[in-house]
């Protein structure tokens, strides 16, 4: 038995990479892409640490002053606190709402199931701007936008369906006979959920919680459309400061970008302990699109 991730399927024996021109092309393309990626990330980091950088390979000196400036100038501490508040609230709410929904969709057939499924698929398939603008309009009208609750509500729209799609395969993996066995042992619906399903679904819940966390911290459009001055998350603050060019030094904006990047990387490293990289990309399986 191997201990590699389950997705990997033993392929043909490893071939020598020098053998084919396709291999060169593939590795060349991957290499160029990674190089560009490195350049994009590194130039932000270098710029944020450089004292003066103009028309040279590297800045003329190094300094941490931009971080100090960004920290106080953008009020980064409270922005980070807001970001975490929003993210945690969204995670908890979308799990509480999404898991029971996923359960019904995974286990049951009922009239109108396809329609319900479509309802949960659409928010993921639509660009956030398309529903974000009407949603923000409605939320402003009822006085729920421009503050923390508006941001949380808006972020729930893609996150609950996301939890539903992530959890469905996890629930399908659990043999329904196990639930039946619990019921035959005298457990009603609530004990079945708390004593049997919840412990068995824990890995799935953890994975989907961490994915929602990453998405919410990185979600720009919906937060941007619904946030007020006191409910700005990190990514929106970053956009605002970039867009208001000239007010702050570019390096100070980059310092903030690095802070954002670090937050995301911490989340990413945590996430990858529980999920594989492909899961971070998409939960949309084959069937929903048919």
């Amino acid at each position: 038995m191997t201990t590699t991730p389950t997705r990997d399927i033993p392929g043909p024996a490893p071939r020598r990479l020098v053998a084919s021109p396709l291999a060169w092309l593939v590795w060349g393309a991957v290499g160029l892409f990674l190089l560009a990626l490195l350049g994009v990330v590194a130039s932000v980091v270098v710029n944020s640490l450089g004292s003066r950088w103009f028309d040279t390979w590297l800045p003329s000196g190094w300094t941490a002053q931009w971080y100090r400036e960004a920290w106080t100038g953008f009020d980064l501490f409270s922005v980070i606190v807001t970001t975490l508040e929003v993210a945690l609230a969204v995670v908890v709410l979308s799990i509480l709402v999404g898991v029971p929904t996923a359960y019904v969709l995974a286990r049951r057939t009922f009239p109108g199931k396809r329609l319900v499924f479509l309802l949960f698929l659409l928010p993921i398939m639509m660009p956030p701007i398309t529903y974000g603008i009407p949603l923000a309009t409605v939320l402003y009208k009822v006085g729920l936008a421009g503050n923390l609750s508006g941001v949380i509500l808006a972020n729930l729209v893609p996150c609950v369906p996301f939890v539903v799609l992530t959890m469905t395969p996890f629930i399908e993996q659990i043999d329904p006979a196990i639930e039946n066995a619990a019921r035959m042992s005298g457990a009603g619906t609530f004990p079945v959920f708390t004593r049997i399903l919840a412990p068995l679904l824990l890995p799935g819940i953890l994975a989907s919680a961490i994915l929602v966390l990453v998405r919410t911290v990185g979600m720009f459009e919906l937060t941007f459309l619904t946030a007020g001055p006191t409910s700005t998350t990190l990514v929106v603050a970053l956009f605002n400061s970039m867009n208001a060019a000239g007010i702050r030094a570019q390096q100070s904006v980059d310092a903030m970008a690095v802070v954002y990047m670090l937050v995301m990387l911490v989340l990413l490293v945590t996430a990858l302990r529980f999920v594989n990289p492909t899961q971070l990309v998409s939960q949309v399986k084959e069937e929903p699109l048919e």
Partner: protein, 312 residues
């Protein structure tokens, strides 16, 4: 039986009074309707209140133009104004090539890397980084990296490939690159997972029947992969179609990359014309769904059954 009566259920509906209700319950249950469906309720309420209702509200709003005119005035205004109408073309001109390139480049690379090799996990991990970082940070990095005095131009100038710095940001290409940087890893990882869902013994069987590498790919793997490619294209397209922050930050938001989401945003938050903003949002949604519909209609003609492997 000698055992105790501890298993006795405590309540007992009398047979006569419960029989009608039971009959109805049986008929409903036969069709899959019972009390446990109530678990759907919180999720449904949320999606309806926060997604369907705003959408319908926005749709209604779009037929009530602020400055009077018929119900279709907003749509006439959008399609009648070349400056607004052009956003559709500009968005598609960005999103379609970017999505196509992302999928097309991913196929050979994922095919090549589908087996197991050292560092696969590291490679896939690195590839998730741009997805998690998001477009705002990518834009900031691109401004630095591909700007007139950034490392990219310096390197190209240094090796003598170009004489003047290339203009790679604050125009179409800046946005295009940002769509590639976040979209390619996305497409690649998806296609990789589809590929690992295809049973490798199918290719070995084809090889045993005399098919060479190209024919194995063309006749066996590609047809099985095709539905996955269509799905991947859709998802990558959605990602590219919603391009917003990068179109503003690394693009040319007043002209060549004034995409439709910018038009919607400006209507809502610069002109405070919510009916018109909703109109644009609806147009945007319809166009996106139309593209996806076309791709999925094509996909439904493909073989979409089991691919013999596990996962995906």
């Amino acid at each position: 039986m000698t055992t105790a009566a501890t298993t006795e259920p405590t309540t007992e509906p009398t047979a006569a009074s419960s029989s009608d209700r039971a009959g109805l319950r049986h008929r409903l249950a036969e069709r899959g309707i019972d009390a446990r469906l109530l678990l759907l309720l919180p999720g449904l309420v949320l999606v309806i209140a926060l997604f369907v209702y705003p959408f319908v509200y926005g749709l209604g709003l779009s037929f009530q133009p602020m400055d009077g005119g018929g119900p279709f005035e907003n749509y006439r205004r959008f399609f009648g104004d070349a400056f607004q109408r052009a956003t559709i073309g500009k968005t598609l001109w960005l999103a379609l090539p970017a999505a196509l390139l992302n999928v097309a480049a991913s196929v050979p690379i994922a095919y090549r890397l589908r087996g197991r090799f050292r560092g696969k996990r590291i490679l896939t991990t690195i590839l998730v980084i741009p997805i998690t970082l998001g477009t705002v940070l990518t834009a900031e990095g691109l401004l630095n990296f591909a700007g007139p005095s950034g490392w990219l131009n310096r390197a190209l100038l240094g090796i003598g490939l170009i004489d003047d710095p290339l203009r790679l940001v604050n125009n179409y290409w800046g946005v295009f690159f940002s769509l590639i940087i976040s979209g390619f890893p996305f497409a690649f990882l998806l296609i990789l997972s589809y590929l690992s869902g295809i049973d490798p013994s199918l290719e070995r069987a084809a090889a045993s029947l005399g098919a060479n590498a190209w024919n194995r790919f063309r006749l066996i793997t590609l047809p099985l992969l095709a539905p996955g490619l269509a799905t991947t294209f859709c998802l990558t397209f959605v990602l590219a179609f919603s391009v917003f922050p990068s179109a503003i930050l690394v693009g040319d938001p007043t002209d060549s990359t004034r995409v439709i989401s910018i038009a919607a945003y400006q209507a809502a938050y610069e002109q405070y014309d919510y009916p018109f903003a909703s109109t644009i949002a609806i147009v945007m949604g319809v166009i996106e769904l139309a593209v996806i519909g076309v791709v999925l209609a094509g996909r439904s003609r493909l073989y979409t059954g089991t691919t013999g492997g596990k996962g995906a």
